[in-house]
């Protein structure tokens, strides 16, 4: 059977080390295994409305500590889809779990379940030798009779309101409408758009007919109270029940009663809904790790036999620097700030939690990269996978990075539990800022947030939905800051108030500039280098091997692999440009993530891979052709060189924030990739190359200012 996933699966933070099928009575169930170690954690499915991806926030973290096995329910994901009711009884699910444990070679596991309809009770009671512990998240089963539904599944309520949607007739009329409703009842917390979308997407990975085959109402979906009552006393393993007090699907009293019946511990998550593993993943991850006894003091590996704790006054001052890993944009400025910070705070040690390609810059600069960096899931690769031809929907790409963000936050979380730091610095480290505000009790050091833009902005063609989503993200951020104003000890805007876009955060939300001026300090722009230090331009050209009579055009697309299409388009313009500009020398820098050999070759055209100190070439050139990324454009503005920039389509930051800032400096000529044929580009090159420009000077003391703001915390 072929299963077509309705939407392309987003990049995972981690992929399975092993996968396979367990087959019972001709029904194949797909399982995955991640990581190694004991105890094994089994993450079984709930009913077939979703599949194993609903554990996406747990798998990368838990698998870093131990072996994790998950599987898709019969009826969804990559498992088979029988169409008879009996195939979906809970005993079948329990038997599937056993078959998966067998297939994966697991003797015994801690089962962590969500909305378990009885199968894990069967498993733990009847196969105690296979279950070392049981975590029940939002369990609906009870020893008490269920209240009758207001609308029995086969009834015709005469309304489509609320739970009337959970009827046979409505399903046939508007299946997606039911799913939207159903999952909105799973995630009652504000700002849960992504979690609802995910679940609806997973539900759409199977067919309504399959769900219908296994569903006749909740009374028969889960095991009955008599069976629960009979099984509970037979469950001998330790039990932890986690239940949200705002669970709109299953009242928290059900979980509390079940914990009582099982003699287990109960953790209530106040204000949480039915699926905290998706909405409060940090909390659920740490609860599961604690229950399963993973990793001692929260360390990344099993607790080492020897640990050292250093008396407070014996510790050197230490900062942990998280540099935004998308492309190379922030690496240079962060290195400049770090260097200045060490000058201002003698003895300061800085560790970097960073990933490729930022680590290439850090290595070249001799910076200290924390070994846990190796555990980070790569954001650049994800962004590249989200990009089309010179088109990157930056907002959606970051939204669809939620699994990577939580995985990387948990790496950070492990690092700072193991090693005390005086200060954490996050330069657009979204995972750090977001999950700290979601879990403020995890703050253990002074914390500085740096950014060069504030505000998610919708692209016009995203319509109402995107306008709603961006406003919702902004609203959550504003609420975070409003509720926990001391969490960011400093918020530093890399730029000036004039650089802030004139927009609002959204309908009913404040103007961005006004709000930022009230909540940020301004460092001015941080180029990461002083143009004056490059000395005489003629001398610089000589040093870089550019002759005085050459017209040098440098083409670069930053550090991510997104820019390949632009490079090819500009290379295609090269013959015409060379005809228009005698002596034109075009230098193409592919960057660390694009293979230079994949680009076409021309006489007189040079293609380089990564070039360290690229800013020197930008300062020496006669023209640059670049993407709309802030760092490169501002390096050119600072160097006073003419340049053409092509914002990526649908990239709100490049189209709005960066373009607005460049207008402040009167810098660069904006181009539109969609209409820029090679001829258009060649003509623009000819018009701009060597032109005298009149830019507003870019400040050169940004790193010093930023470091001064940070140093006060040390």
């Amino acid at each position: 059977m072929t299963t077509l996933l309705s939407t392309r699966e987003q990049t995972r933070a981690r992929y399975p080390d092993e996968e396979g099928y367990a087959e019972r009575d001709g029904v194949r169930v797909f399982w995955e295994r991640y990581g190694e170690g004991e105890p094994t954690i089994l993450l079984p499915p709930t009913w077939e409305i979703v599949h194993s991806r609903f554990w996406k926030c747990q798998i990368p973290y838990l698998a870093r500590h131990t072996r994790v096995v998950t599987f898709d329910p019969r009826g969804n994901g990559r498992s088979d889809r029988p169409r008879d009711f009996d195939a979906y009884r809970r005993r079948e699910f329990a038997a599937d779990a056993l078959a998966v444990l067998d297939a994966a070679g697991v003797d015994r596991a801690v089962a962590v379940t969500w909305c378990d309809m009885g199968e894990s009770l069967i498993l733990a009671a009847e196969h105690p030798e296979r279950v070392a512990g049981l975590v029940l998240i939002g369990p609906p089963v009870s020893v008490y009779e269920r209240e009758e539904e207001d609308y029995p599944f086969d009834s015709e309520p005469g309304t489509d309101e609320g739970w009337a949607k959970e009827t046979h007739g409505y399903w046939l009329r508007d299946w997606p409408g039911y799913l939207e409703f159903f999952f909105s009842q799973c995630f009652t917390e504000p700002h849960s758009t992504k979690q609802v979308e995910d679940c609806v997407g997973w539900a759409m990975d199977t067919e309504m007919e399959t769900i219908l085959a296994g569903f006749r109402g909740w009374g028969t979906k889960q095991i009955d109270p008599a069976e629960v009552a009979a099984l509970c006393p037979r469950v001998r393993c330790p039990v932890l029940v986690i239940h949200g007090t705002e669970d709109a699907q299953v009242d928290a009293s059900v979980g509390a009663d079940l914990a009582g019946e099982l003699g287990g511990r109960l953790v209530l998550l106040e204000g949480a809904g039915h699926a905290p593993q998706g909405r409060d993943p940090v909390k659920v991850n740490t609860l599961v790790a604690e229950f399963a006894g993973l990793g001692g003091d929260g360390v990344a590996a099993p607790a080492p036999a020897t640990r050292t704790w250093t008396r407070a006054l014996r510790r050197p001052k230490r900062a942990l620097y998280l540099s935004s890993p998308i492309g190379l944009g922030h690496a240079r400025r962060d290195v400049a700030i770090a260097r200045e910070l060490r000058r201002q705070v003698p003895g300061l040690e800085i560790d970097w939690l960073a990933q490729d390609p930022v680590t290439r810059v850090l290595e070249a600069e001799g910076e200290r990269i924390h070994p846990a960096s190796a555990w980070l899931a790569n954001e650049s690769a994800h962004i590249e996978s989200e990009a089309a031809e010179h088109d990157l929907h930056a907002f959606q790409a970051i939204r669809r990075m939620d699994e990577i963000l939580i995985a990387n936050f948990m790496v950070f979380h492990d690092v700072v539990r193991e090693q005390p730091y005086d200060l954490w610095i996050g330069d657009e480290a979204w995972e750090l800022d977001y999950y700290l505000h979601e879990n403020p009790e995890e703050k253990r050091a002074a914390y500085v947030w740096l950014t060069d833009f504030v505000g998610w902005l919708p692209m016009p063609d995203g319509g109402e939905r995107e306008a709603f989503l961006t406003a919702d993200y902004n609203a959550e951020m504003i609420e975070h800051i409003g509720r926990f104003p001391r969490l960011r000890d400093r918020a530093v805007f890399v730029g000036n108030p004039g650089d802030i876009v004139p927009d609002r955060f959204g309908p009913g939300l404040p103007p961005i500039r006004e709000w930022v001026e009230g909540h940020y300090d301004f460092a001015g722009y941080v180029t990461g280098f002083d143009p004056a230090s490059l000395g005489d331009r003629a001398e610089l050209r000589r040093r870089l091997g550019y002759r005085p009579d050459e017209q040098v055009c440098v083409v670069t697309v930053g550090g991510s692999g997104v820019g390949g299409h632009l490079l090819r388009r500009v290379i295609a313009a090269y013959p015409e440009a060379r005809r228009l500009v005698p002596g034109l020398r075009m230098v193409v820098v592919a960057g660390p993530r694009i293979d230079p050999a994949s680009l076409p070759a021309h006489d007189g055209l040079e293609v380089h891979a990564y070039v360290h100190g690229l800013y020197q070439h930008l300062a020496a050139c006669d023209l640059a052709v670049v993407q709309g990324g802030l760092t490169t454009c501002m390096e050119l503005a600072a160097a006073g060189r003419p340049f053409l920039y092509f914002p990526l389509a649908h990239h709100f930051e490049q189209n709005f924030h960066v373009a607005h800032r460049l207008r402040q400096y009167n810098a660069g000529r904006r181009m539109d990739f969609a209409t820029a044929t090679p001829e258009v580009i060649a003509a623009a090159v000819a018009a701009e190359i060597g032109r005298r420009v009149h830019y507003r000077p870019v400040e050169t003391d940004g790193a010093t200012k930023a470091a001064s703001l940070i140093a006060e915390l040390l």
Binding site: G133, G296, A305, R307, T310, R311
Partner: protein, 301 residues
């Protein structure tokens, strides 16, 4: 340096829920019980230069979670000060510990021992495994496992022509200037800067007993060879956590490391810590004890 100590005990954060004493061969040993949670923790005495108040920074915290039993080692506190050396054999302290467990109705306990108390904990765990859930050994005073510090060279029994430094580790000096010894010793126990209060406490407790009594404790018998000590450590079956300062001027960190290795236990080194981290770094030690006790439960509880 002159230290003033007041005889009156300072206000406690909590007082025992129950106290009593056991008597063995005419020697009375006083115990206290705080709290009632599970499991029970037995906080052993150390050398009789101090008594059960050494745990004052642990008891209030641990007793909120667990049942905590302490007792004054024979030779100090409210326990008797027998006048013969044999009464201070290791075996007597270990037997006292077992008797206190019996008297307090404690079937099994996690042992927490500092310095000599760490050695007695090991001996009790080896001899009575059915009574011991786990052992936290803080800067354990276990000989032979690592070379002693170079300054630990003066003969204890001989008359010396100097009183400088570790020459004070000498019975004649103790009898001549007991206070001088206790002050010196306490200052070596706490090499961490800003330890005045901890030093004062120790001197105060030290002055509650006498030089004569401490001399007798030195004459009691204890394991006499590396082989004997390793055999005892090899019999320890329970989980072990060793906490040891890397600036311990009495017992080098290498001892703690060897104890952890020989018992298959974990080691937490306290960088910059001296011989008594439970007094100087109480938060860290409290949390380590708690974490250790919780780890004994885990999913198996």
């Amino acid at each position: 340096m002159t230290l003033t100590t007041t005889a009156r005990e300072q206000t406690r954060a909590i007082h025992p829920d129950q106290q009593g004493s056991i008597e063995r061969d005419g020697v009375r040993v006083s115990w206290e019980r705080y709290g009632s949670g599970e499991p029970a923790l037995l906080l052993l005495p150390a050398w009789s230069i101090i008594h059960s108040r050494q745990w004052k920074a642990q008891i209030p915290y641990l007793a909120r979670h667990y049942r905590v039993v302490t007792f004054d080692g024979r030779g100090n506190g409210r326990s008797d000060r027998p006048s013969v050396a044999e009464a201070y054999d290791d075996a007597e302290y270990v037997a006292d510990a077992a008797a206190v467990l019996d008297a307090t109705g404690t079937e099994r306990a996690v042992l927490v021992g500092l310095s000599r108390g760490g050695r007695w904990a090991v001996e009790l765990a080896a001899a009575r495994p059915e009574r011991v859930l786990g052992a936290v050994l803080i800067d354990p005073a276990i000989a032979f496992l690592a070379p002693p510090h170079p300054w630990w060279t003066y003969p204890f029994d001989e008359q010396l022509d100097t009183d400088e430094g570790w020459a004070k580790w000498n019975r004649h000096y103790w009898l001549r200037d007991y206070r001088g010894f206790v002050e010196f010793f306490a200052s070596e126990v706490f090499p961490e800067p800003h330890s005045t209060k901890q030093i004062e406490d120790m001197v105060g407790w030290g002055l509650e007993t006498t030089a004569e009594t401490l001399v007798l404790t030195q004459l009691g018998s204890q394991p006499a060879s590396r082989e004997e000590m390793e055999a005892i450590l090899g019999r320890v079956r329970c989980p072990v956590l060793v906490v040891h300062g890397d600036d311990d001027r009495l017992r080098p960190l290498a001892i703690g490391a060897a104890v952890a290795e020989l018992t298959g236990g974990a080691l937490v080194a306290i960088e910059g810590g001296g011989h008594c981290p439970q007094a100087r770094h109480p938060v860290k030690v409290n949390l380590l004890i708690r974490e250790f006790v919780e780890s004994l439960g885990g999913t198996a509880r």
